[in-house]
């Protein structure tokens, strides 16, 4: 990463904490607006509990509708946060520094949003406890661990706990800064409690750095397992033609990364516009994430292509009928076209041009398109798969989402936005200590006739200085 603005630690504190310690004018109206949508969604949910699932558009044979499509979508979005953060940390990519926290926080709220819809979908959410936790000793009722619907909460729950702990641990140094800068005694006391007495000793910093790497390494396998297990909700059902696919796990994972990384790019643009973070998130950052997106989108498209090829290769009547329904028949045909165009055909060629990659507005809107496409992808997997036009005609049906389902789906989007806004009011969305570390490690070096910025990634460990006979080290010792 070449492009940067060199700032002092105080400047970084001032810029990144200004919206936390002071209330921006737009904040309250924005929160009230989102809160209204969230409450409307919960009201719809209350109405649904009172009247039963009949108020949704779910009916035989389509028993999974908007709720489950939306669940898969949010699980997908949640993947990019930790994926971006973990992979970029492990590879010590310098451009990660300003974006990791926002990506991780988005993971947490996306997972919470994802959990909304299946809980609501079951109609009697409190009964979920019976299916997940083995607690009812008196009645001898136990979860059936053979069911993917028990695997799902165990995976999503693990991922949610892991992501939340990851965010909290990486927040400690920034909480110490907030503790030191807060003027209100009560606020100061609260931040002091959360900061756990962090003082910035070499031991604490060393463990912070290791924490980032070690937790990344531990969360990545969970990340892979979560969307694999979500895909098995579908793939283990041998009776549904479009779902029983061995390719589903990797296909779902790469689809999740595609939509999720796009969501991170959207988030980067939004944080620049809303919080004025131009000094931290530069066109170079958009360029880097767009390059990553080109690879991810192309890989995802390859998996999508394979899924279709192997489905049609068998020429089995039910499978062909399903594909015809997905791609040709009203209303799924036009939706299929929109899905392909928005998730691949428009964005990827645009990202091939450097000037577009470096443009936050273009990156934002192309990533919005990707996520529209990826939501439709999940919709097109869930609903046409269940319509089963290949079977007995008396079993045919259709699906029209009701206003209740639409309200709850819209609520999940408002919930994530509201969560991010509330989080950003209390904690910094950009990890201050990480950005500062990048600043102190950055130096200008002269190579031939050019002076270029270079970054020292990490100091060598102590034993290297003690035992190594590197001439440069020896010279520096003599100096």
């Amino acid at each position: 990463m070449q492009e940067h603005t060199q700032l002092t630690q105080k400047q970084i504190n001032d810029e990144l904490l200004k919206d936390i310690l002071h209330l921006p004018k737009w904040w309250l109206p924005a929160v009230l607006f989102l809160l209204t949508i969230v409450l409307a969604g919960y009201s719809a949910f209350g109405y649904m509990i009172y009247h039963g699932l009949g108020v949704t558009g779910l009916n035989r044979p389509v028993f999974w509708g908007f709720f489950i499509a939306n669940f898969v979508f949010w699980i997908g979005i949640s993947h990019a946060g930790i994926m971006i953060s973990a992979i970029l940390r492990l590879t010590q990519a310098e451009w990660r520094r300003p974006i990791t926290r926002a990506a991780e926080v988005m993971t947490v709220f996306s997972l919470a949003a994802a959990l909304h819809t299946p809980m609501m979908h079951v109609g009697r959410p409190w009964r979920v406890l019976y299916w997940i936790f083995p607690y009812d000793f008196s009645r001898d009722i136990w979860p059936n661990v053979r069911s993917p619907f028990v695997w799902d909460p165990s995976a999503v729950g693990t991922y949610l706990i892991a992501s939340t702990l990851f965010v909290m641990i990486c927040l400690l140094p920034d909480l110490a800064i907030l503790r030191d800068r807060a003027k209100n005694p009560l606020v100061k006391k609260i931040y002091a409690q959360f900061a756990l007495g962090f003082r910035g000793t070499p031991r604490q910093w060393k463990l912070q750095i290791i924490a980032g790497i070690l937790l990344s390494a531990l969360v990545l396998p969970v990340f892979v397992s979560v969307h694999s297990i979500v895909s098995w909700d579908f793939a283990v059902l041998i009776g549904v033609e479009g779902w029983r696919s061995t390719i589903f796990a990797p296909y779902f994972i790469i689809g999740a990364i595609h939509s999720g990384v796009s969501a991170v790019a959207m988030l980067m643009a939004l944080t620049v516009w809303i919080y004025g973070l131009q000094n931290y998130i530069k066109p170079d950052h958009f360029d880097a994430i767009a390059r990553l997106l080109i690879i991810v989108a192309t890989t995802w498209f390859f998996f999508f292509f394979l899924e279709w090829v192997w489905a049609l290769y068998t020429l089995e009547t039910p499978e062909v009928a399903l594909r015809e329904l997905q791609a040709e028949q009203w209303p799924y045909g036009p939706l299929f076209g929109i899905f392909i165009i928005t998730s691949f055909v428009i964005p990827v060629p645009i990202w091939l041009f450097k000037r577009f990659r470096r443009n936050a507005v273009i990156m934002f809107w192309t990533c919005v398109l990707v996520n529209i496409g990826m939501w439709l992808e999940r919709f097109l997997i869930v609903i046409p798969g269940l319509l089963r036009r290949s079977h007995m005609t008396f079993d045919w049906g259709s699906y029209h989402p009701s206003i209740i389902e639409i309200a709850i789906v819209v609520e999940t989007f408002a919930f994530v936005a509201l969560g991010m806004l509330l989080f950003a009011k209390v904690f910094p969305l950009v990890p201050l200590f990480d950005v500062k570390e990048g600043m102190i490690n950055r130096h200008l070096i002269k190579i031939g006739r050019r002076v270029i910025p270079a970054t020292i990634r990490e100091g060598l460990p102590h034993h290297y200085y003690k035992n190594h006979s590197d001439p440069i080290i020896e010279r520096s010792k003599e100096e």
Binding site: S154, A162, L165, G200
Partner: protein
């Protein structure tokens, strides 16, 4: 005798490193002084001792605990209420593997986080000698020692050219 802590603040990295050298010369042990910074400097920047830790044991212990609990839950619930499926064993290994995997990872992650907090010597109830300037870019050198040696420590800190006054606190 109670322990007291004193803190000197420095603007330059070199001054802080000099302060550590002065403390060593004055006979203070490595365990008696610490560098406090608002940003993670590369290890050894100030000539400080390498912090030792056992963090890598924590995820292993957590993974073993998580594995055991998940195994107990999955095997226990299936044997407590056997669902007999024609010709198949009561314990469904592929299904158990999924939950055991998640349990193992969850245990490893939770223990890692506990380990990070524990090995970082947190939570710390008393801050001792501390300044809010540290998170704004100053480098602090703090000495925690017997009350009768604080004067020597203060001299060693001041010799390196501190910014402002010595800050004093109790441990």
């Amino acid at each position: 005798m109670g322990k007291r802590s004193v803190l000197g603040l420095y603007i330059e990295e070199d001054s802080a490193a000099d302060a550590l050298d002065n403390l060593k010369e004055a006979g203070f042990h490595e365990s008696e002084y610490e560098i406090l910074t608002g940003v993670p400097y590369p290890e050894g920047t100030f000539g400080e001792a390498e912090p030792q830790h056992n963090l890598y044991r924590w995820p292993l212990i957590g993974a073993i605990c998580g594995f055991s609990i998940a195994l107990l839950i999955t095997a226990g619930t299936q044997t407590a209420y056997p669902l007999i499926t024609g010709g198949k064993p009561i314990l469904s290994i592929p299904a158990m593997a999924v939950i055991i995997y998640e349990g193992t990872m969850l245990g490893a992650i939770i223990f890692t986080v506990i380990g990070i907090v524990f090995e970082s010597r947190l939570p710390r109830i008393f801050m001792g000698a501390y300044s809010e300037k540290i998170t704004e870019g100053h480098i602090g050198v703090t000495v925690t020692t017997d009350e009768n040696r604080t004067e020597t420590a203060e001299k060693a800190l001041m010799k390196a050219g501190i910014d402002g006054e010595i800050i004093r606190g109790w441990e």
